[in-house]
Subunit: 409 residues, 2 copies
């Protein structure tokens, strides 16, 4: 098999870890596979560099930031190739540029445009274990160094896996796979053997930090099978793959929570067409991502209240902006609430099962947990609740949907 | 003026130093100059990376070593550009590749083949302060990352200065210029205002660690004027330039010493043609650089003793090798001595002044310092003495040639 293995920062945090990973890579090769290794920077290294940047400049340029941060993966890539060679195998370290990872020119959050992986494929054919720097790429015209944003090494791995038509993309991390919920909150949380891309996507964007969202989207689009597993054990991990018939039998696959949200409510907006568009255009222009939006119209139909959630880090900016816009639009008041939490249940089986939402609301109500806002999609239901109930809500839902029991599929 | 400024590791050792250098750069620009900045890695960073490499592999590949080490200069380059921008000036950070530093493919000690500095020149014309990563380059065909060897950033600076036809190349370091000798040994050591390339070359290769030897050779070849000065003060430094008439009036410009030498003597070699060639070919093949060679033939003309010096770090290897070769050649014995030191006096004025050597030998003899080996060139005389006399010899010679007095030129 041709396997891409990606190792995150904690997996290559120090010399001992790098050597342990090199052994794992060699073992995979000894089992008859060809291996491409994608590495992140050593844990803490990227934060250290960002910190240095902000010490020399209050507003470091994004182009230079990319040049700065790309050095972290160069270090681990070179060290990993050396460590593999020390075990007696041919290895070659390639930068994002050398691996042909071509991106657009949006520094610090570049998108992969294409991968010209000739050099990777040639090196594999010559018997090399290929080690590639994750997180980084290069623009096609100016050959500028770019980075793919936080967690970008996952995307590098999936994109390379797709480009070289690898059979599997293993994402090694410090947890043993994807769990039904956070094991720190629910001790009976169960590791899933298998999960669909769609579910994983909801899991990832809803705060389960195992896989970067864009990498899952990419994997889904190009049908790259991913295995999430731990570099600290030999346990099999979780397969992220196309939805199959069996998966639909499981109604709810996981419970997630996100404490990094804040809610802004604009009270008494005149209920005229175009009002919501004006508000959210203004907020979008400030590059703030709005998540859940709920609008209620007053009984006389004249006024509307609009609530929406934003990442907590954007609350100040969003609140100031909302007040300005609300003022222009003639609203009565703007308030915010930042001690909230978003609880979600996710499962492709919801599509074919009814009553799941009711079951969720009922379970929360039974434990005195008030729901402030609800939002649903085909395969997930999210509720905003008071932050203090987060852990309780997670436990209640995990229990109600019997997630600690392995489904009979 | 168009000025290239190179800042070594101690000059950019931390955030405070980087900010201080940024201010110096900006000051130079405010005085009406265009500036290109070459930076080394932060002090200690390169050693840290080398150390990591040897922790993961007893024998790290040189290609990967280059990739690893090149990350250090990327970091300072990006940080320096950010720090300059924070002062309100346009700055752009370029890697060796982006600055067009093309080298051969001899990893860890690549030679610069050419510089295609279009991007540097364009950026200068667009009003940018250009910050370039020293020490690194790229091969033309494979676009492999290379490094220029220890002290290579000096060479980067001189080569860029030559390529963009800059008026001056300032090498900033942690000393205030080139001294007549080591001020730690002779407190009256005087900073030279001016020194010729030839003299600087002898100084550099004889152990005065101010400027990398190859950078001086390059500067001499392309007539790039260099100023060596401190980034920690505003003192004017030492100009390294073409020899002029005034310089010849000064007989001796400096006294240097090198404690990093060891001497190997092969006793009783049959004195046949080709013996020396066989010996030194064998040693050269092991990549050991031999410095001074002296051969004495016995009174009956049948046997020869050959002594030569090698860097102390190569002594073990060279001694083992010498014993093997000496055995093959039928020599009587091989001995070594590692408590030696090489003392040299340097000056372009020697060419036109006689009796300098005699004056040197006499001064040493007068203080009971025995000379083991002598070697001379047009502008220098070197003696091997016992290591314990090093400081005494330096003081005696500095005194005899009146180096603390400024010459009346």
């Amino acid at each position: 098999m041709l396997i891409v293995q990606k190792y995150g920062g904690t997996s290559v945090a120090n010399v001992e870890r790098i050597k342990a990973v090199a052994e794992r890579v060699v073992k995979t090769v000894e089992e008859g596979n060809k291996v491409v290794v994608i590495v992140s920077a050593m844990a803490g290294e990227t934060d250290k560099l960002i910190n240095l940047a902000y010490q020399v400049s209050p507003n470091p340029s994004e182009r230079e930031m990319d040049l700065l941060l790309s050095s972290g993966e160069r270090v681990t890539t070179a060290l990993m190739a050396m460590a593999i060679e020390a075990l007696g195998y041919k290895a070659i370290a390639l930068t994002g540029r050398q691996a042909g990872i071509i991106t657009d020119s949006v520094h610090t959050k570049a998108k992969i445009e294409k991968i010209t992986a000739d050099r990777v494929i040639n090196a594999l054919n010559e018997g090399y274990i290929v080690v590639i720097a994750g997180f980084q790429g290069i623009t096609e015209d100016d050959l500028e160094v770019t980075t793919l944003g936080r967690g970008g090494s996952d995307l590098s791995a999936v994109a390379i896996a797709s480009a070289i038509k690898s059979d599997l993309c293993e994402i090694y991390t410090d947890v043993e796979g994807v769990y039904t919920t956070d094991p720190n909150i629910v001790s009976e949380a169960r590791k899933l053997d298998k999960i669909s891309y769609e579910e994983m996507l909801e899991m990832a964007s809803l705060g389960a930090k195992v896989l970067q969202t864009r990498s899952v989207e990419f994997a889904m689009k190009y049908e790259v099978p991913i295995i999430v597993r731990s570099s600290f054990s030999d346990k099999p991990g979780t397969l992220v793959t196309k939805e199959d018939k069996d998966m639909e039998k499981v109604v709810v696959s996981g419970v997630t929570y996100d404490k990094n949200q804040a809610k802004i409510t604009i009270i008494g907006l005149p209920d005229k067409p175009g009002i919501a568009a004006k508000l959210f255009n203004g907020i979008a222009k400030a590059n703030i991502v709005v998540d859940m939006i709920v609008q209620n119209v007053s009984s006389d139909g004249k006024y509307a209240d609009i609530s929406f959630t934003v990442p907590k880090t954007d609350l100040n900016k969003a609140f100031t902006l909302s007040k300005e816009i609300a003022n222009e639009l003639g609203a009565k008041d703007v308030i915010y609430k930042d001690d909230i939490s978003k609880i979600s249940i996710i499962g492709v089986g919801m599509r074919t099962h009814s009553g799941v939402a009711a079951q969720m609301f009922e379970a929360l109500a039974k434990h005195g947990i008030n729901i402030m806002t609800i939002s649903t999609s085909e395969i997930k239901i999210s509720c905003i609740i008071e932050a203090k109930y987060t852990e309780l809500a997670v436990r209640v839902l995990h229990d109600v949907f019997k997630l600690s029991e392995k489904a009979n599929v």
